[in-house]
Symmetry: C2
């Protein structure tokens, strides 16, 4: 993926760790999908059950690719300590014999919206644009530097506030969904742990100003990827838009 | 890219060449972007100059990737005869010392809409979703079979009718654009030549029913890729939608 290049401001020297963290947080404030109108509608209770189904079904494709993304990052590091820390993420999503993983929990959320498990897991009705955006994330972690791959995960810095708000509002506006929120409950603890490690690692490994800017740029690219998924969902299912041929359609009620 | 899998109908044997071609044409009738509402508006004269700018600027990213796509396909064939036929495509877009290429012609179209060349060529303001869709096309021709890569080019079977109509309507509704239509003029001849070769090649190389279905599936995937680009443009610039942060914005007039 050709990332939009962001030039280094004239006269810019190396940022202090605090300056770098401020810049990363700025990206989140401006571009993280907590600002997306689809989320604003969700939190205001303005989505129909069908629209929540469309969201759960499409975002399942993203969820299903997260452990693949993390396995690619794992495969790119030659540092056992890094890999020990990072492999937790694959387990968090895939689960193991002792604990349930995030993908299974997301399926239960989709079931709580009224969808059949098979329909969700098949990914047959995922919007092509959602697929392209998610696949662009895999391409980013595969083909850019390891620093950029790790930095792209830093959206987790911003997820706790969004998830906290979302759980509250989903329970309030869509009480019939309340049984399906285990995914978010687990992420409330996992995401900040993961973000802490990744932020520390990025702070240590982005040494030159060019590396720092590449990390900021990668986080921007990841925000674009999350945002584009909601654009596609909003366009197909909220606006008087149209899901493309073959994609999930909301049933007439 | 994980293509949506399309099962082989029960009892389905190998299709005759005529049956295969009929199936491929059906894909075009149902899914080619001649049906897209953005094109319908364009042909009805309902787009503003800013909207035509957004289209020309975003589609430039697609145009700029076409010779890369064709070079990937070239690189995957070990048949000199195939490569001799296919290399024409790279030249058609890049040009050489004796003739102008399609990319240069597209830039002139974008200039005719009122955009600066540098702004178009930089690709800085391209919608992320357009980028993801175009990059998915490169991924398709890189990672799927050569048969699927070639079959994905068969949208050119349908382009002549669309281009003929488009040139007529652009001249009628947007006469100030008339000086920028050389790109389409050239494609009127190039596309049918290319499509003839590719259709013949696909007909000969899709031998089993599974191969035939994979070719149909690849053409479907390509139609999705074209359609998704217009969805993104429509959503950002026609609906009361929003271009994502950093993307091209239509100037207030």
């Amino acid at each position: 993926m050709a990332l939009r290049s962001i030039g280094i401001p004239a006269g810019g020297g190396v940022l202090s760790v605090e300056e770098l963290r401020t810049r990363l947080r700025q990206v989140g404030e401006e571009r993280y999908h907590h600002r997306h109108p689809f989320h604003l509608m969700m939190h205001a209770g303005e989505l129909s059950q069908g629209q929540l189904q469309a969201w759960a079904l499409n975002r399942y494709y993203y969820q299903s690719r997260i452990p693949i993304k993390d396995a690619i990052i794992l495969s790119r590091s030659d540092d056992p300590e890094f890999r020990r820390a990072w492999s937790k993420r694959v387990l968090d999503h895939d689960g193991d014999t002792t604990r349930e993983g995030g993908i299974e929990r997301w399926i239960r959320l989709a079931e709580a919206t009224g969808l059949d498990r098979e329909r969700v897991v098949s990914c047959q009705e995922v919007l092509p644009s959602v697929r392209y955006a998610v696949d662009a994330y895999l391409e980013l972690v595969r083909n850019r530097t390891l620093l950029e791959a790790v930095a792209s995960s830093l959206t987790e810095l911003f997820s706790r506030d969004l998830i906290t708000l979302r759980m509250d509002r989903l329970r309030q506006h869509y009480p019939w969904l309340s049984g399906g929120l285990d995914y978010f409950e687990a992420r409330l603890q996992q995401a900040p742990e993961d973000a802490r490690f990744a932020l520390q690692w990025v702070s240590e490994h982005a040494v030159t100003r060019a590396e720092q800017e590449s990390a900021i740029n990668a986080l921007t690219a990841k925000c674009d990827i999350l945002w584009a998924q909601l654009d596609a969902i909003y366009f197909a299912y909220v606006q008087p838009g149209w899901p493309p041929p073959g994609a999930f359609r909301i049933e007439e009620s």
